[in-house]
Each structure stands twice: as C-alpha cells, then as structure tokens.
C-alpha cells in the first residue's frame, strides 16, 4: 500500500484558508441566496474539525440578516447547549431561543448569555431570531411552522425517521455533518427496509440525497483541528474518496515538555507523540477482558505523565500549558471508560468537570464533535480474541483518531494486525444499500500500519 502520509499533493494548491473560504462562500450563497429552481436542501460534508460550527454560526447570522427566522436541529442536548453557547457568544446581536424538554435543564454555559431564552414551549420562543433544540424535541412541536429555514447540525448522526418527523417544520434546510463518524443505529430488526431509499434506520442525509439527486454535497476541504501529522492519515484512512488537508503545516503545532523523560516506556511514548503527533504504546500480546487492568493502568499512567511533565502546546493560537481539560481519554465501551476514570482518580488526576479542569474520559459515541489538545486512546481491538462489527466500525476508530489538535497516544496490546488478518470476511450484502467507505477492516489496517512507525513497546 502506498503510504498515505507521504503521498505528494498532485499539484500546487491555494492556501488552506483561501480554499476553505471559497467553499464556505459557495455554501452560504446556496443557503442564503439560492438560485431559482435550486434544490431545497444544501448538504455540507465536514471532516473532523473543518469549521462546521463556524459555518453554522455564519449561516445563522446571514440568514437572520436577510430577514429570515431560523430553526436549528441538533441531535443531543450537549450539542444543542454547545451550539447555543457558541452562537450566543459569537453573535451577540442575535436572540437565541433554547427549546428544551420539561425533564431536561439546559447547561449553565448555554444560559449564561443575556441573548438566550430557554423555554419548554415553542410558543414562548416565537419572537427569537433563532430557535435551537434537539431533533427529539422538535418532533413534538405541533405549531404551524413559522420557519422557512432550518439548519440541521450533525445530520449524519440523525436518523431518517427523525428527519421525516421534523421536515414538515421548514421549507429549506442546510444539512451539516461528518459522514465519517458513527452511524445512527437501532437494536431492532430493520432488514425488511434495507435498500429502500427511505429506510428509517438510515442516516437522514442518505435518505435526503436519494430523494433529491440534484443536491451536490459541498465539502469543507480543510481540517483546522487536526495537525499536519494527522490530517493526511485520517483523510486517507477514513475519507479515501473525499480527501482533505490540515490548515496548519508541519511544525506549526508542537508540544514541549518542561520535565525530562524518566526513561520509562510511557515517557518515551509521550515524547514520540510530542515530536510526531502519534505514538503507539504497545503492551505484550494477550487475550484479555474488556477492562484489561494493565492497559487501563497504562492509559492512566500516560495521562498522569502528560500532566506531570509540564507540557506546553504551541500553535497558531499561541502557547498554552497542557491542562487536564485539554486532555481526553477515548474508549470503545462504557465500562472501559469507568475503569480508566477509577484508575485516574487513584493517581490523583481530576476527572470531575464540576470540580475544576478535568480530563474527559468517554466512549467514542460521546466524544463525537469534541476537540482536545492531546488524546489517549485505548484501542478498540486491544486484547480482543476476536473482532466484531462493533469494534471494527469505521466511525468509532475515526472519532477516536481525530479528536486532537496536537497528538494522539494509542494504547494497545500487540497482535491487532494478526487479529484483523484472521477476521472472517463473511459480511452479508444487502442489494441496493450503498456500500459505506471505507470498510472498518481496511481503515483499521491503514491506521495500524501508520502507528507501527511510532511504536513504543512496553515490557
């Protein structure tokens, strides 16, 4: 396989900023000033950290400036609160309504702004420029819709049936999301609808595009989050047909340590990651339970050393010390996250955000849309005797490998490449279902091949 990281760009390109601006301008034109007869939907594919939220804020401002009132649909309460917070601070001139369920209080960060109003009934928010809620809440809104425009955020995480329930509320919509993240899912059988364009368990965007083939998705071409060390790998492994690049160049993002390494493998991995953006901290091969105590304690020790070694993150935004709240630990399962949290508490690392800056420890599902300076990832296949569809899911690995601005340290048992090679390839194929690329198996191989160059063995 050609190494995706060293593959040269085919021709000289405009600067990342100029390329991204050009795309954003086209998107805003299509959204705010659609041509006569243009499709009713605008779809924007955004790879990790490509300025999706910034785009949503700009589109909201321009639509309101053009005299429109706007509804925004996000998928989780966290996403809604983040968006409210961001919109209210970036656009203090807008009035923002936060529609929420009666049994769920919005987060304090969302409510601290004077231009934000929260309510459980949409009628109480009728005067607001922008009303934001989850798709679950919007589905219950009965009112004759006063909105012509909607923005659907994280649209690839939204299920087709949810869009079916809310689409009556708006005439036109901007759909923004990351096709590489985790797909929506259900625990009940849906085989009978497989291959139908409106399969209710599909992602909303898949259904929308199937029924509106004239919509050409836009693509944000630059990741501002991922460093130059990560964007080429993430692009090649997870977005093989829709490549993107990093907004910063090699050397623009660095990590420096105040404390010299103590000679341990953990410190060697920290240094490797600081220098190259990646490290694979590899434990001896062994089949383990999910909450592999050794791997968990290595993850915790790595976080401890990241804090103890006085790291500073230097970037285009200046130099800031690496504090606990800029570090995340990503796992596949909740019990793994719980085990890591317990181990961190044992090492005196703060994990409770209500008590001050704390390390985030969560599953891939919950880390979607989040951003940190350094991440420590417990590899989903570490110690497993077999790979399952869950562990191989492309989106899971993609989320875990694309949360960081500086560096990512992966902790894993040796033997994953062999595990992948021995994985039975007997997947069923449903007629009419578009094959999702890349395949998780292939993506895992690509990431592993790259990590092998940054391996630190732990004995």
């Amino acid at each position: 396989m050609t190494d995706p990281v060293t593959a040269p760009h085919p021709e000289p390109e405009p600067s990342p900023g100029a390329a991204a601006d050009a795309v954003v301008d086209r998107i805003l034109d299509a959204t705010v000033r659609p041509a006569v007869g243009a499709p009713r939907g605008v779809v924007v594919d955004s790879p990790p950290g490509a300025g999706k939220s910034t785009l949503v804020v700009r589109a909201a401002r321009e639509l309101v400036a053009a005299g429109e009132r706007l509804m925004i649909v996000a998928q989780t309460n966290n996403q809604v609160d983040d968006l409210v917070d961001r919109l209210a601070s970036k656009a203090p001139d807008l009035t923002v309504g936060r529609l929420h369920a009666s049994d769920g209080r919005p987060a304090a960060e969302a409510l601290r702004h004077p231009n934000v109003t929260a309510a459980t009934k949409v009628a109480d928010l009728a005067e607001q420029d922008v009303v934001i809620s989850t798709s679950a809440k919007w589905q219950w809104v009965k009112t004759e819709a006063p909105w012509r425009h909607a923005i659907v955020d994280e649209a690839y995480q939204m299920r087709s049936d949810a869009l079916l329930a809310v689409a009556r509320l708006f005439e036109r919509a901007l759909f923004v999301g990351d096709p590489g993240q985790l797909d929506p899912f259900t625990v009940v059988g849906t085989d009978q609808w497989a291959g139908l364009s409106y399969d209710p368990s599909n992602s909303a965007v898949v259904t929308l595009l199937a029924h509106n083939p004239q919509i050409e998705p836009h693509r944000l071409p630059v990741s501002w989050r991922l460093p130059a060390s990560a964007a080429p790998l993430v692009s090649a492994a997870f977005y093989p047909y829709t490549p993107f690049r990093s907004g910063t160049g090699p050397g623009d993002r660095t990590l420096t340590a105040a404390v010299r390494p103590d000679g341990s493998a953990v410190d060697a991995a920290v240094d490797e990651a600081a220098e190259h953006g990646w490290a694979l901290l590899e434990l001896p091969a062994r089949h383990t339970v999910r909450t592999d105590p050794q791997a968990v304690s290595v993850v915790a020790a790595t976080v401890r050393r990241l804090l103890d070694r006085g790291l500073t993150a230097h970037s285009e935004q200046g130099s800031t010390p690496l504090s606990a709240d800029r570090i995340a630990v990503g796992t596949a399962h909740r019990d793994q996250a719980a085990a890591v949290r317990a181990a961190l508490v044992g090492l005196g690392v703060p994990v409770d955000p209500t008590a001050g800056p704390a390390v985030s420890v969560d599953t891939a599902n919950r880390l979607q849309g989040r951003e940190y300076d350094v991440t420590v990832v417990l590899h989903p296949l570490s110690g497993r005797p077999d790979a399952t569809a869950f562990h191989l899911e492309t989106g899971r690995l993609c989320v875990l490998a694309s949360r960081h601005r500086h560096a990512c340290i992966v902790v894993a048992r040796a033997g994953i490449a062999e595990l992948l090679d021995e994985h039975p390839a007997t997947e069923p194929v449903q007629l009419g279902v578009t094959v999702k690329f890349p395949d998780g198996w292939e993506a895992h191989h690509a990431v592993l091949a790259h990590l092998a160059g940054h391996r630190v063995a732990l004995r």
Partner: protein, 397 residues
C-alpha cells in the same frame, strides 16, 4: 467450474504435493478462493486447501463426514435457469443487460460472442480469453459477450484458472456477470447469498485486473482504493443475474464489490505465507488416504487424525456450515474442553481463560489467584455466578 493448478512444480508446490500424496489435486475455484476468507485464521484449512486435499474425504475417514450436499431439485433449477438465459442467442440474458449496461436494442450494435475454445486445455483457453478481451477492449463502440471465459490468477506462486459465467466488454472496460438461481424478491435478496456471490465475483474481478495488467505489460497496482484504468479493466461493480420474484424471468442487479475485492486481495496475498505454516509440520507429515484399488481409504484413522491434529485449527460453530472438517473440529474442541465450542463471541468475555473447566473454576467460590488480568476475568465470572445463584434462589450456581 472446472479449474486446476498448472505450472512447473515450484518448491512450495512440491511440498504441498507431498502432503497430498498421489490423490488428484482438488482444484481451487473462485468459490473455494472466496471461502478462504470465511476463516482466514484457521491454519488447518489453509494448509489442506493450499495442498488441494479433499477435505470431505478426510472428514469421512475421520468418522465425521460433512453433511453438505445439494438437492437434485436445486441443481436442476440452477441449470435450467442458466440454459434458459443463454437459449436463442442469449435473448433472455440480454434483456436485463440491456437495461443495466445500456446495450442498444437489436440491430443498432451487434453483440459479438467470440469462440473461446471451450474444449481446449486451460492454458490455451486462458490465452484465448485474454486475446478476446484485448480485441474487444480495442474497439470502444463494440459490444462483446465472453461466455464462460477462463481467467488466470496467480495464487501462492502458482496459477489458478477461474471461470466466470460471463463477461461483457464495452467502452474499453468489462463487467463481470454472475448468474445465480436465488431470487431477487421486491428488489432484495438473501444477504448471505449475495455476500457469497460478491466475494466470488471479487475473485473474478481480481483475475481480470491481472489479465488487463498482463495485456498492458504491467502489474496490478497495490492499495485498496487504487483504480485500474487499462484497456479491458473490469468495473468494480458486477452484475448479478437472478430470477425475479417468484418467476423464471431474469433480473439484473448491480453489486459494488470494492470491499470484497480489498479483502480478497489481502487474503490471497497472505496465502504465500503457507510455506511458513509448512515449516512447523513434522517431516513426513501426510494427509494421504492411501486408497486401495477399489478407491477405499486404507490410511489408519489414528495416524490420519494425528496428521490433522498437527496443524492447529481455529474452530468456531460457523465452520459447521462452511468447512468439511467442521464436525471433526467441533468434536476436538469439545474433547479439549475449549470455550470456542460455544461460539467465537464467548472468548471476548473470558479473556485468557480458554477452557470450560477453567471458566467454571473461576466462577466458583474458591478461584485460584492468578495475575491481575485473569483475576479481573475471574472476578467478573464469580460476580455473575453469584447474581445467577441469587436469582435462581440457590438452586444453581
């Protein structure tokens, strides 16, 4: 599909022939190659398949024959469907191809069906196919149907010959057509069968990529997402032609096989590692059944069992429906008390515990202390056992 290995005996081929003994080599066809992906971790299957050994005969001799077979009704139905499609100069087959490939209706562009020398030997046929493909690809406006072409694919250093049902060439590119007798009902079909057909077709596409590369004097480009754009290169979608609904009329559906192609490519590349597996075998190991003049095996069962046992298997219950040795390996797994007899997924919860007795001991009250990791697995098991006993009111556990 009648396919065989042909070529100068290479050292690897020589070693494999010794394992097989004088029995005729079981040919590796596309279905067999695709089946390698069903359990790529099984060394036993890898060695026996690479050596072309009749696993069914081995299983029979070991006393646990494979229960596989095809009903004569199913065979008759398949044959009837394919012959119906190809009757009257492919009239019935052309109908769905027309819809899917844009083949113009009668007269506008004649369909060439070159003679592929089906009565000749495989090497000649493969050469003829390659020549016909080159000729057909040279004229982008022509429509050519290659009926049962023979393709050459190098597997583990020796050539295998594969025979797709049909290949259509137009616009300088070709499309694999695979005829199956399972129905497409209201636009959907049995996903397991479509998956198997896609893996089989992926082998043909790979062989066609090799053929096109050979014609262009180059090699197949590496990388899972590499696109080959040579004269005669295969499309990465194939056409499945199946009975429509409950009728005998055909319908064609396009199946994207890029994922299967990537998997097949990697699995076949791994087959070269078979000589490493052979290195671990004791000298003189043989799976020869030593048939007498009547063809009945005379090889002592215990001896044969030992030979089979000397190559480790990766048994899982899926093997029962995909490998002739499945029942034998299950008996072994049960005999060895291995947890895999309950399914592959079970191991994920048991960590490094490999036996039923070991797991039950860990679940028991007096679990022996091991290292932290096995403690963790044991602690979970014993917690589960306590919950179970509590729920059953002390009558179990």
């Amino acid at each position: 599909m009648n396919v065989s290995h042909i070529g100068p005996p290479e050292p690897l081929a020589q070693r494999l022939a010794e394992l097989r003994g004088p029995a005729p080599q079981r040919s590796l066809n596309a279905r067999a190659l695709a089946a390698l992906a069903a359990n790529p971790g099984c060394r036993r299957r890898a060695v026996l398949d690479a050596a072309g050994i009749d696993k069914g005969a081995v299983a029979q001799r070991l006393g646990r024959p494979a229960p596989f077979g095809q009903s004569p009704f199913a065979i008759a139905r398949g044959t009837m469907f394919e012959s119906r499609l190809k009757a009257d100069d492919y009239a019935v087959l052309l109908e769905p191809l027309r819809r899917h490939l844009g083949l113009p209706s009668d007269g506008a562009a004649p369909l060439a069906v070159p003679d592929l020398l089906r009565r000749s030997g495989p090497a000649v046929r493969a050469e003829r196919t390659a020549a016909a493909l080159a000729e057909a690809a040279a004229d982008p406006s022509a429509w050519t149907l290659l009926d049962h072409p023979l393709l050459r694919l190098t597997v583990a250093g020796s050539p295998a010959y594969l025979e797709p049902d049909a290949v259509v060439v137009h616009g300088g590119r070709c499309t694999v057509v695979e005829i199956k007798s399972f129905p497409v009902l209201d636009g959907s079909a049995d996903p397991a069968k479509v998956g198997a057909a896609a893996r089989q077709a992926a082998v043909y596409v790979l062989a066609l990529q090799e053929t096109a590369a050979a014609l262009a004097g180059t090699t197949v480009a590496p990388g899972p997402y590499a696109v080959q754009a040579l004269p005669g290169s295969p499309e990465l979608s194939v056409l499945l032609v199946c009975p429509k609904d409950f009728s005998n009329r055909p319908t064609a559906v396009s199946v994207d096989i890029r994922r299967e192609l990537a998997t097949t490519r990697r699995q076949l590349a791994r087959m070269t590692a078979v000589d490493e597996l052979l290195d671990t075998l004791a000298p003189g190991t043989s799976f020869d059944l030593a048939p007498d003049q009547a063809g009945l095996p005379t090889r002592p069962v215990a001896e044969l069992a030992d030979a089979v046992e000397s190559v480790p298997a990766a048994y899982g219950p899926e093997c029962l429906s995909s490998c002739e040795l499945g029942f034998h390996c299950r008996a072994q797994a049960r005999c060895d008390d291995r947890v895999e007899q309950l399914g592959r997924g079970v191991r994920g919860e048991l960590g490094s515990i490999r036996t039923v007795a070991g797991a039950l001991a860990a679940a028991g009250p007096a679990a022996a202390a091991g290292d932290r990791e096995s403690d963790e697995a044991a602690a979970r098991l014993s917690y589960a056992a306590a919950l179970r006993a509590e729920a059953l009111g002390g009558c179990a556990g």
